[in-house]
């Protein structure tokens, strides 16, 4: 019924519109403007160009300033501050280019509107001007490329030796988190060993996996480089932590990584924002299925001491799930020697946490 009403209303609107249109044509035929080549409408459009430039430009400037505070997520990492500076510098550069070119476009459109008896200036080319406006953007681009390249190599370069290691694994539709435990080595995981309990697919026949522990939240210490190792066990996901300016895909079959140094603890950020409920959030940023939009995790930035205490208090996966461990012990052959050892096992062992203090 509602659908029918909607359709009827639309139909009615169409009819009214058609009648008005017909009326407009008839009046223009009688007033003689119907066949006129260039009439009033030309100057009306020219004026509208100016109106659009100033009205639109004014609206844009106003809404930009108005929303400016909302569009800057708080920054809590070292490289995040550098990126922020680069972002707004680039925005300023393109803002200048934007203002100049748009202003010229609309002002020229207004100024050079058709006038009876005037003739356009026959100006087909000028190599000097062409060269100038090729070289100037090229120089600006070169500067931006250089700055971007330097920052990019630093950010994506190898993590410092003293980095804290945490691994996250994306799955439909939540994030699994694990830490290397006391031995500071992430144990072997194997996707064939995944089941409802062993969500990571821990291969407990590998000694270094015995003390690995899993958590729901990601805890990281302030002021220490954090290396996030990233996996996916089903489809593509992406680790996106807007406040840390971190983003990296989680790719099934290909572990990825990203490192950053948090600068503000969760408590400090809560105090600064005056929002006691504030949390750093990890969002999935590569479409992964129906509940993609709800796939999040919380990151807690602790003072290094608190972090140490928290870390020490965790129980390992093997301790929490003795039946899984028992099942591994029953099997005579260590599964780790079988075919599907993940690429991770071949990598150098992660650097100990202790080295950072």
């Amino acid at each position: 019924m509602t659908a029918l009403t909607i359709l009827l209303v639309l139909l009615l609107l169409l009819v009214v519109f058609g009648l008005l249109f017909r009326l407009q044509i008839l009046t223009s035929i009688f007033s003689g403007t119907f066949t006129k080549d260039i009439g009033m409408s030309n100057s009306v459009n020219a004026i509208l160009m100016l109106v659009f430039l100033f009205g639109g430009g004014g609206w844009f400037a106003y809404s930009f300033v108005e929303n400016f505070s909302k569009m800057n997520p708080p920054i809590a990492s070292v490289h995040g501050h550098q990126m922020e500076r680069m972002f707004w510098t680039t925005m300023t550069v393109i803002g200048v280019a934007f203002a100049i070119t748009q202003a010229l476009l609309f002002i020229y459109a207004y100024k050079y509107q058709h006038k009876e008896g005037r003739r356009a200036y026959f100006f087909a080319h000028n190599n000097k001007i062409e060269v100038i406006w090729t070289i100037i953007p090229a120089i600006v681009m070169a500067a931006l490329i250089f700055a971007g390249w330097k920052a990019w190599t630093r950010i994506t370069g190898p993590a410092p030796k003293n980095s804290v290691v945490v691994e996250v694994m994306g799955k439909q539709f939540n994030w699994l988190v694990r830490y290397p435990g006391r031995d500071m080595k992430l144990g072997v995981v194997n996707y064939r060993m995944i089941d409802a309990v062993n969500e990571w697919g821990f291969d407990l026949s590998d000694k270094s996996s015995l003390d690995d522990f899993t958590t729901n939240e990601i805890h990281v210490p302030k002021g220490v480089p954090v290396l996030i190792k990233i996996r996916s066990r089903d489809v593509l996901h992406a680790v996106y932590m807007p406040q840390f300016r971190v983003q990296m895909y989680a790719v099934p079959g290909m572990p990825t990584r990203f490192w950053f140094t948090p600068t503000t603890t969760t408590d400090e950020m809560r105090a600064r924002l005056g929002n006691p409920k504030f949390n750093y959030e990890l969002a999935c940023n590569q479409v992964c299925g129906g509940s993609h939009f709800a796939m999040k995790a919380t990151i807690v930035v602790d003072e290094p001491d608190d972090y140490q205490h928290w870390y020490a208090a965790q129980q390992s996966f093997a301790q929490k799930n003795p039946e899984v461990l028992a099942a591994f012990k029953q099997k005579a052959q260590p599964l780790v020697s079988q075919a599907a050892v993940s690429a991770e096992a071949k990598e150098a062992a992660p650097v100990p946490l202790a080295a950072s203090y």
Binding site: G18, N45, F98, Y112, A238, V246, V251, F293
Partner: protein, 625 residues
Amino acid sequence: MAAKPNLSPGVQTQGGIGTGPVPATEHGEHLHHDDHEHHDQHWLWKYVFSQDHKQIAKQFLITGMLWAILGGTLSSLFRLQLGWPEGTMEWLKPFLGGWIEAGKLNPEFYLALVTMHGTIMVFFVLTAGLSGTFSNFLIPLQVGARDMASGFMNMLSYWFFFLSSVIMFSSLFIETGPAAAGWTIYPPLSALPQAISGSGAGMTLWLVSMALFIVSQLLGGVNYVTTVINLRTRGMSMSKLPLTIWAFFLTAILGILSFPVLFSAALLLIFDRSFGTSFFLSDIYIAGKALSNQGGSPVLFQHLFWFLGHPEVYIVIMPAMGMVSEVLATNARKPIFGYRAMIGSLIGISLLSFVVWAHHMFVTGMNPFLGSVFMFLTLIIAVPSGVKVFNWLATLWRGNIRFTAAMLFAIGFVSLFISGGLTGIILGNATLDIQMHNTYFVVAHFHLVMGSAAFFGLFAGVYHWFPKMFGRMMDEKLGYIHFWLTFAGVYLVFMPMHYVGIAGFPRRYYAWTGFDAFSQFADMNKFISIAAIITFLGQFVFIFNFFYSIYRGRRATQNPWNSTTLEWTTPIEPGHGNWPGEIPAVYRWPYDYSKPGAEEDFIPQNVPYSQTQSSNLPYEQEMAD
């Protein structure tokens, strides 16, 4: 009886290019014969399975318009969800059926809407509808050819597109829903029906449809390139081609070189989905089962996809650039500034477009060194794009501008291209892309620069060449209303989207309400949704104007815009073969507007220098003598 033209391209082109005038009697006799044949032509061959490039162009245009209405409708649906995440959609149940559950849009169907909106707009509207329409319509008319090099292949091109359209459309109605993995169909999501229901039959249909679409593009592209190279009329050297033709020509080359790579990606994905191969799949545990696939790489798919996907955005925008250049020059009554620089920058953009694809992949786990290389190559593309913008501005400078609807859309195109293009400088910077990747900043960027701008190019083209297509004029006043509504609307939709993106809102999110970080722009999203839906409804002004004017529009004159190019030397409604007599020869470049000393403010390309003694430049005078 009026002499109607000869059908077979071989014979005609001889008349046009090589041998000069054919003796009148022989010509006439021959033509008469063809004329007779034509009257007997069944309507099915004349209007449906037509081999005439103008008819095929109209078929592409109208199919593209239908697709655009559908694509716009889908976007309105998901904008409703984004603007009012808490609101009820019960009233849409009659249309969407089971996809509305307890008054809420199904989140998987939301992704299907987004996916189909992207697929439809990028491929079916802006590739087939824009390039297909105007390459077909304008190439033979503007280079001075009777028809495409192969009319039959051209017909096949449309019908493959049609078949592809039917399959894609039918996928909307199947039980598991259409493809829902995003228009980029990244595996494993697109490969595994367990991951999302749209990756079942919907994805199969998507891939089949796309394979047929690629066939259509290749058949069209080969034809466009061949026609431009071989069938130019006498005197029409490459350096006398209108910029439209240069743009279509380079677009077709891009398509021929890049679409086969998408085809290979689609084929490998079909293998992975149906035949148990592991090109893109590895180490997957899903729906309670570990899959046996080992050693594939999802990143490989992304390389293959974007090797087409990036040139694709230039396939979309370059025809618009060409048409806008033409419309700006015509209506500013001025030569396009820097004709050669315009061609050079088109060539530069075309070349660069092949070596920038991985800027879509900075944070996908690709080697960071590759990221630096692609950042470098990507940002270079700003230089030829800048040259184009400056040249358009210089074309307006000291012009004598006539604001036709087409001219308004051309100016709008330049404005949108600037606004959207500049933010590309941010996204092309790998460092900044870490934060901006897959946020609404990206959505705003490409909707302005290749979505809206290409649409504006399309509108400029339709308003400008409508008289040539249908022999009637579109209503100018409705054109003005359409333009100002759309122009303001597009900015109101996409400018605020940048703010949302800078704040880090991820794209393809059904709702942001679950995140503290993304909750601050609820009002802004409502605003964007309202603006988007009004702008979409505004397009019906155009649709009305278009169909009304086909039948009731003011009758066109032969050259309503006082333009210089060859299509305006044909009869008001050109028949099959385009020119009733001999194809005119070309003597000059296409932009002799407001030439000092000339009587009129335009000199068509087919006027020899010997007839324009008063306005010839010194070197032209030499040619005249």
